[in-house]
């Protein structure tokens, strides 16, 4: 059953047009993914706290040059990227916990799992939820490929490519002019590109850079670590990709809130979207 195929053409034309927008696997995966990614992010920040420095190459430890570092002085916290340094007191590297005590861990307690420093527990959460995430992603990718979601909803069509179309869509997004009527039945080009980028690039990249950090898996698949240019490079890419995913999440949520959170939430929970009336109907 195609996403846009089923228009609820009920005779009482007064009500808004309802469309079956998201099929069950999309909705299930969306929410499972939201939960697992949140746990993975927060437990990942705890693991980062154990050594808040990032390197390029095969090795990297305290005596080696870190390209990114979250650190602290006696009274301040800072984030350093290359030679650029910014004061992050109160947020990163130097913050006050809920008992009023000063903490010097990189990420604050409200952002980590668990809230108090425990590398062991952070790893337990991270490495078990990684399984849930990887298995769900694999199943979802298979389903998108054979279930028609990829071909029908995500495939970039002829005419959608091209700078003109991209620029138009970018302008529409910037002006918060969201698709209405027929156009709201389809993903627009920026949506397609970001969903494809997230599902087929960023999310798998998280799994592969994660596996590349495993000393056991290095013996299983030495080529994987070569692909990323070394274990510490893989760790850096893991962190950068997580940041990109967080950025995607923020934009995604902002778009939902701006385009109409009730309608969007209903559609990703129940599947049914209330179609925004087309602009051509003279209501503008």
């Amino acid at each position: 059953m195609g996403a846009a195929d089923i228009l609820d053409v009920s005779p009482q034309a007064a009500g808004p047009v309802r469309v079956y927008r998201h099929r069950l696997p999309v909705r299930l995966w969306h929410w499972l993914n939201a939960a697992t990614l949140l746990v993975l992010l927060m437990s990942g920040l705890m693991i980062f706290n154990a050594h808040p420095r990032l390197y390029w190459g095969q090795y990297g430890a305290n005596h080696d040059h870190a390209w990114l570092e979250i650190g602290s002085t006696r009274a301040t916290g800072y984030l350093r990227i290359g030679s650029w340094k910014v004061d992050t007191t109160g947020m990163l590297g130097h913050w006050t916990d809920r008992d009023g005590a000063t903490q010097r861990w990189a990420f604050p307690g409200w952002a980590t799992i668990p809230t108090r420093y425990s590398l062991a527990d952070g790893r337990r959460w991270h490495l078990s939820f990684a399984w849930l995430f990887a298995v769900a992603l694999t199943l979802y990718m298979i389903w998108t490929a054979i279930g028609g979601h990829l071909a029908k909803d995500l495939r970039v069509r002829r005419g959608e490519w091209g700078l003109g179309a991209l620029w138009r869509d970018l302008k529409d997004h910037a002006r918060l002019r969201f698709p209405a009527g027929e156009a709201a039945l389809r993903y627009n080009i920026l949506q397609k590109l970001s969903y494809i980028g997230v599902i087929f690039l960023l999310l798998p990249l998280m799994i592969f850079t994660g596996l590349a950090m495993s000393p056991g898996f290095n013996a299983t698949a030495p080529w994987l670590i070569d692909l990323f240019g070394g274990r510490q490079s893989a760790r850096s890419i893991h962190f950068i990709t997580a940041t990109l995913l967080l950025l995607f999440f923020l934009i995604h949520v902002a778009m939902v809130l701006l385009a109409g959170p009730a309608n969007a939430l209903r559609s990703i929970v129940t599947g049914w979207l209330r179609l925004p009336p087309a602009r051509e109907e003279g209501r503008e």
């Binding site: 078990s128 990684a130 209405a180 596996l211 013996a219 670590i225 760790r235």
Partner: protein, 259 residues
Amino acid sequence: MNDLTLPRRQLIARAGSLVAAAGALPLLSGCDAINEAPAVRKILSMGEKMHRASQRALTDRDALAREFARTDLSPVFRSNGTRLPEGDAYAAHAARGFADWRVAVRGLVARPLMLSMADIRAMPQRTQITRHDCVEGWSAIGEWTGVQLSRVLAAAELKGSARYIVFRCADRIGAAEYYESCDLIDALHPQTILAWALNRQLLPIANGAPLRLRIERQLGYKHAKYLRAIEAVASLEKVGAGKGGYWEDRVDYEWYAGI
């Protein structure tokens, strides 16, 4: 104007208050209660079992960890954990250059051994340049020389009932002595060596002098330092608190540290 774009400002305001409300929720202590719940700990520990099972299934038992060239060595090989074991006995050994240091090989073996450092150096040696991966996230590349554990266990005639090898250390953290353990797959792996040299120098005290374990497909805390006994056992239940290692017993680090 379109009724979708009209309440934009209102929507932004509502979005702002939603975010603020979510942030103010007293989630923090609730999260920690979940973290401590026995049922949750049990579910979380399944992750380790799955990683171990899948890595064992996918990896040849003798598959080697990457070995590097001398040009890849870390300029400084940092140390971690105990940097100087406490106590007069260790200090006295260090002062004599570990000439009287003995490593016991015992437990489920037909021929228990007491090996001096000279005995260990007289056995066939293996040198390997490998990457040391700390659980904290850093890595350092070093050149290690020592005897393969498989040779020592063969000399001691490991019994068929042995399932695990326990490594007893001379360093204490708090009141308890450090120890670690591994299964026979890792114990008999060609790169699992008892190393006495780092970067062609005698092992520094900070890195585990006079003898430490290298178990290259696992994280740093498995690489027991200051070795004084190697014990073959059938079960880890009665060793320490039963989880197979100092950190495993205390903070619940994974016993299988391949990831």
